[in-house]
Amino acid sequence: TLTRGFDGARERLAGVRALSENNVDEALREVRASLLEADVDFQVVKDFLGRVKERTLGEKVETRVKDAGGQTHRVTPGQHFVAVCEQELTELMGPVDPELSVADGVTSVMLLGLQGVGKTTIAAKLARHLQKKGRRPLLVAADIYRPAAADQLEQLGRSIDVRVHRGETGEQPPSICARGRALARDGGYDAIIYDTAGRLAIDDELMVELEAIERETRPANKLLVCDALMGRDAVNVASAFAERIDLSGLVLTKIDGDSRGGAALAVKAVTGVPIKFLGTGETVDRLEEFRPEGLASRILG
């Protein structure tokens, strides 16, 4: 049933001689159902279908195209429709921008997001990623609430030979991060990753804490970590976080599951920042730089 929508659209247009408002509307209905089932936000679906309709009916269809090998192929209206869908979706998901910003010679990253999305795991993955690029990273365990959170980051850090700075008993997260930053400066670390506690964007006290961490550390990169299993509320969550923190990018985790990850579309649309990385598994090597094409075809089904 995951590929139903797109196959459905293809079926509707099989043998069609020319795209008309009628047959395009039918095909769009199939795509709509498929996208909604993939957790793509209602409004994003509406806008997307509107653009696809406009382009497929408005553009002159190239019925003969040359491929990369110089071979000429006949393109059916149905294939043209599918190609437009893919292009539009890829555009929605793009651009390709996995670069992390550097400030004062340091690649500083602050990770934030809801509970359980994969921040701590991403912190370790990013540390390893930067280490492989020749940087000397420091991990900062700024979650003082979750039982054994600092232990978790420490164990992950140990597995990749990356130092982890944790707070003293009773020390608050902004102070832990400020001292972590000082440690990085004095210790010659050229990358620092602040792992924060999972929080609800509607929890004002914790959002104030996040803003305090941001003020103390001025991270060059502020990444919202999102779970590919999330549904519609991802949009509300993302815009609530974006309201308080000036985000620089998104990380989408658990992409190794069978969720189609459509919520990512709306999150990208509402925050306007690029998806930088994908978490593709539980182990610390499972991090990929984001490529829009892969996710686009997965969401379309």
Partner: protein, 277 residues
């Protein structure tokens, strides 16, 4: 109706958006709206809303847990807890342990997540908070062995309830799902009827993937209940409406926060109220 066809269409568009944003899913939402149209189409907004609300409440009433939530059927009463990564299993076990302790029961926890960094330490902290011991195994060791050791110890010590934690896993990963089936089998081997409860912990933020989760976890180990966590957030957990139709697994508890007392029994009425809030 009173306001004419345009108002009717606008009302149904608004209700459709409400249902979609609550994660009810296309098919469930369309069925419910179709029923609302049949029974109250042409009537005013309040009437349509009432029909919709009742239709949802009816579906959810079928998955409200029947009987005393803390009832035990075994000695020990064995509860296996499973679900995808980060859904709230370990935290939920901590909360359940505290509830059983408050009800005068003795509890033993099994640190069945032998894989993830500091999983054991996390559960041990909850054990301290709830006032119960935790049976552990070696790093990377066989989780079925820890499950077995836990129920064996529970029986030997005359403990009332054994809660078995498992590692998070994604349902499309066959070897991990087989590992889960093995844990469930091993439990049954040592204690007649174990696990007496098998709870799928589902994050209220989950979208349509919840259906795949419920189906595939149920295949690995027959589920007796769901725990819907993180309902203190903005997500409504509407996936359970469709799940009620498809799998009829009772929702036993809901998680409403990160503290030890943040667990409530599922109430269909409260859930529907929140949906329409």
């Amino acid at each position: 109706g009173l306001l004419g066809r345009d108002a009717d269409a606008a009302l149904f568009d608004e209700l459709e958006a409400l249902l979609f944003t609550a994660d009810l899913g296309v098919r469930t939402a369309e069925d419910l709206l179709e029923r609302a149209r049949r029974e109250a189409g042409g009537q005013d907004g309040a009437a349509v809303r009432a029909v919709l609300r009742n239709a949802i409440a009816e579906k959810l009433a079928t998955i409200e847990h029947v009987g005393e939530p803390l009832a035990t059927t075994g000695q020990p009463h064995v509860i296996l807890v499973l679900g995808v990564n980060g859904s709230g299993k370990t935290t939920t076990i901590g909360k359940l342990a505290a509830r059983y302790r408050a009800a005068g029961k003795t509890v033993l926890l099994g640190a069945g997540d032998t894989f993830r960094a500091a999983a054991r330490e996390q559960l041990q902290t909850w054990g301290e908070r709830a006032g119960c011991d935790v049976i552990v195994g070696p790093d990377g060791g066989d989780p079925a062995a820890v499950a077995f050791d836990t129920v064996k110890a529970a029986r030997a010590r005359g403990v009332d309830v054994a809660l078995i934690d498992t590692a998070g896993r994604l349902q499309n990963q066959a070897p991990l799902m087989e590992e889960l089936s093995k844990i469930a089998r091993v439990l049954g081997r040592d204690i007649e009827g174990a696990p007496h409860e098998t709870l799928l912990v589902l994050d209220a933020n989950t979208g349509q993937n919840a259906f795949s989760q419920a189906r595939q976890f149920a295949e690995a180990a027959p589920l007796t209940g769901l725990v819907l966590t993180k309902l203190d957030g903005t997500a409504k957990g509407g996936v359970i409406v469709g799940l009620a139709d498809e799998l009829a697994i009772p929702v036993k508890h809901v998680g409403v926060g990160e503290g030890v007392d943040d667990l409530r029994d599922f109430s269909a009425d409260e859930f529907v109220d929140a949906l329409f809030a």
